[in-house]
Amino acid sequence: MVAAVFHSPPEAAASAPAHSGAIKNIAASAISTSARGPKDLKDTPRGPLLSRAFWLAVLPPLCGFALLLGVWALVSAGTGASIPGPAATWQQARELFVDPFYRNGPNDQGVGWNVLASLERVAVGFGLAAAVGIPAGFAIGRFTFLSRMFGPLISLLRPVSPLAWLPIGLLVFKGANPAAIWTIFICSIWPMVINTAIGVQRVPQDYMNVARVLNLSEWKIATRILFPAVLPYMLTGVRLAVSTAWLVIVAAEMLTGGVGIGFWVWDEWNNLNVAHILIAIFIIGVVGYALEFALVRIASAFTFEETRA
């Protein structure tokens, strides 16, 4: 309630004290209120309150983007437009996005194809890593012997930069594409192994005691107790893994070539088309954010607050 009063404009609080109970709800859910349409806005205190909450939600991010554009324009002006400014980049972007899915041979494809090629590599590498890493994490978390066996190995291999694995991948798989996938695999497996193992180790003893008193089979323990209890930890691992994979693919593709957003950046650098590089940075950011956001949503849907009770 204190927070709600703090957020509400003084005139609204004074004009309708009877509504004070509802103020908190309105301030907390500006979006859902606005979705209800103009009918609700006739109840006087809601109008100004809504717009204030709305602007509080929208204005700071807008300021942030404005700052970014401002700095960008200054840098551009400072370098004599060798780095194109926002306006020039926008022009280029409009031309580019008219047809993102064209194909003029293997070395000249639309940016859409490049992004999809990168996503495909991430999906394959990440999928393989999940298929190996999550069961491995369960086993390592469940059995002390395995935990002690693999603990030092993981500690040794995890800090290695994924790109250091690229030559090994090229050597073993004799191809750029499998090598890139291998790099994604090796960098995204660790967060999943580690988080899953920690999750298994942190399953409350109470739940395991229930399993023991009921004498549940190992399969039932895995599906009814371990898996749901570990899921939030596992999804944190998956989220970290996807973020890392998306970070690494760009660098890996710069080295391996072919089709992909990373290669596209390198190609445009060779063409000295800096505007396209800036556009690529923007695309990489948006896709990475979208991946992260989707996984956060999935994770929160499977987290059970009452586990802490």
Partner: protein
Amino acid sequence: MTTPSDTTAAALPARSAPPAARYLDIQQVGQTFKTAKGPFTALQNINLQIAQGEFVALIGHSGCGKSTLLNLIAGLTAPTSGVLLCANREIKGPGPERAVVFQNHSLLPWMSCHDNVYLAVERVFGATESRAQLRERTQAALALVGLSHAAGKRPGEISGGMKQRVGIARALSMEPQVLLMDEPFGALDALTRARLQDELLEIVLRTRSTVVMVTHDVDEAVLLADKIVMLTNGPAATIGEVLHVPVARPRQRVALAEDPVYLRCRKAVLDFLYTRQAHVEKAA
């Protein structure tokens, strides 16, 4: 004051049915834990016989090893010395014939109340009964504790008292030979606790289960138990006294408040806990 205690092994059959007098048999049991500071003896020289159908309360100050003893009977831990028998067989590990109601209910938060109970029912009767029968058993267990309406809810959506009742329903649904309860009502408010105690009295009267309940509530122990086992203060706790509660069943909370036998038992437990065992910790 006359002390109605006796520490002999022969338990008086508290109820009319002719029970196996040594259904649960605890012989010379000791429990030592390894800690960073060296071995810690929690229990020693525990000898206790519990008859089939008997309701036993374990009482003592906190830290005296009540729960340790219950975990030993449950088979969740193994004794360092001595042996525990259930129906003349050694207790080697936990099993559904010795159901446990945990102190903190221990329901699985990702399952509805129905599914929590069903998990237990399925484990015990799944091999021999149809799904419809299993569901029927689940619903009956929830009805027993008056929670049919909450069957579809998750533990996070119901009150603490209701969770504890689901925990009891889960334990009862397994039709265990022994019901082990670790301070089942400890975290509840006085009114809820009283209601659940009355429900438990009724249920036990109907099912004739053997019950071992850990408690630190003197009134609870005297109201519910046929036999109150009082533990001395830890470390190295042992059984200080065993008190029989010769109060007829069914027991009515309000009527008992002035019952001389009830009051005598209550005084005996209080005397043990607060006079004789009050200062042992300082001496030790």
